[in-house]
């Protein structure tokens, strides 16, 4: 049960993008369409799971005052592996994501989970936590990527939805990323506020 709870926390209540607002650089930069968003999300998920496992395994031997450099080196090693694998097997995606694959090293979500979860919990719990957080991140990226692709290009995952009827090119440019993410955040916040008000009204009865 605790595992399911960890998994769900990452997906919803603690969603890294919409609730914690972490890992903004790849979120904004790689979501020009849904496919890139999916690729970025999965690459981050892989690094997150592997680094959480290792950090959790070595937690007994890591001296407290140099733990951050150690975690970063662990993460950087896995990022190098993912980078080489993507270069080998998914060359086109590797080329479009470009700089943002090496930048997974400094993604605050990964270091944040290593520091606040994996360094204190068992390996199994850490895997579930990484899965939840990673899938939550991937889901948010796909949502953002789909909205931007739909508004900017009229397609989702390359499938035409309304074709050329409406194309707001700005949504694919940098400002569009900020505007769409801002509006999505507002939407999730208003759902949260609505639910809390409902819960309060329920208590009064």
């Amino acid at each position: 049960m605790a595992n399911i709870k960890n998994l769900k926390a990452g997906l919803f209540q603690q969603n890294p993008t919409f609730i914690q607002v972490l890992g903004m650089c790849p979120t904004l930069a790689t979501t020009t369409n849904a496919e890139n968003a999916l690729g970025m999300g999965l690459a981050t998920l892989a690094v997150l799971i592997l680094s959480n496992i290792v950090v959790s395994l070595i937690k007994k031997w890591v001296p407290k005052n140099i733990r951050i450099p150690i975690y970063i080196v662990v993460i950087a090693s896995f990022v190098t592996m993912v980078d080489l694998l993507m270069h080998g097997y998914t060359y086109d995606l590797w080329k479009t994501l470009g700089l943002f694959i090496p930048l997974i090293v400094v993604n605050c979500i990964i270091l944040g989970r290593a520091e606040s979860f994996a360094s204190k919990n068992s390996v199994l719990d850490s895997i579930y936590d990484a899965l939840g957080m990673g899938l939550g991140f991937t889901g948010s990226l796909i949502l953002l990527g789909s909205v931007r692709e739909l508004l900017g290009n009229g397609t989702i995952f390359g499938l035409p939805i309304w074709g050329d009827a409406m194309k707001l090119y700005v949504m694919i440019l940098p400002p569009g990323a900020f505007l769409v993410l801002g509006m999505l955040l507002a939407m999730f916040n208003s759902i949260g506020i609505h639910n809390r008000n409902k819960a309060k009204a329920g208590e009064k009865k």
Partner: protein, 198 residues
Amino acid sequence: MAPNINPFILFFASIFTSNILLANFLGMCSFISISKDITSSNGLGMAVTMVMTITTALNWIVYNKIIVPLGLEYLRYIIFIIVIAAVVQILEMLIDRLSPNLYMSLGIFLPLITVNCAILGVSLFMQLRYYTFIQSIFYGLGSGLGWWLAIMALAAIRKRVDKSPNVPAALKGPGVTLIIIGIMAMAFIGFSGMLNVQ
């Protein structure tokens, strides 16, 4: 291999037309969370500018004089981040020794900087685009100043917006901040086309 760009043009381009924050989305996390407060933004901007200039220069030397001759290109991410972490650590100790006042205003932000993606991003861009040593220094300095400019502008705008009673409840906090940044990014897009630097 090195692109033929005047370092001064590169310097201005990295402040305005290809601002590291608004055009490349690097360093967003601390940009959003620290910009609540103008004094902290100023301290962080200063620290980022300093660290970025030093690490870009150092990473250029490390990459071209150590990594390439030894054929260790596949280790570059790990080496770059270690150089950055070491510089930040040494800088923190030095500032603490030399100027306690500066340490109070700047030192607390230094640990945050190791994981600021703008710093690693600039080093990676420097390497990807084959800049020369002089170009790298100007690029690092310019990107740092551009980051500083952007965070100061955002902090000043947020100071007013956060107090405004007209912001809808759901948009408060990160939501409205992102929309402000979006509008700022549009303004900075206005600069593009004036200089083109890749």
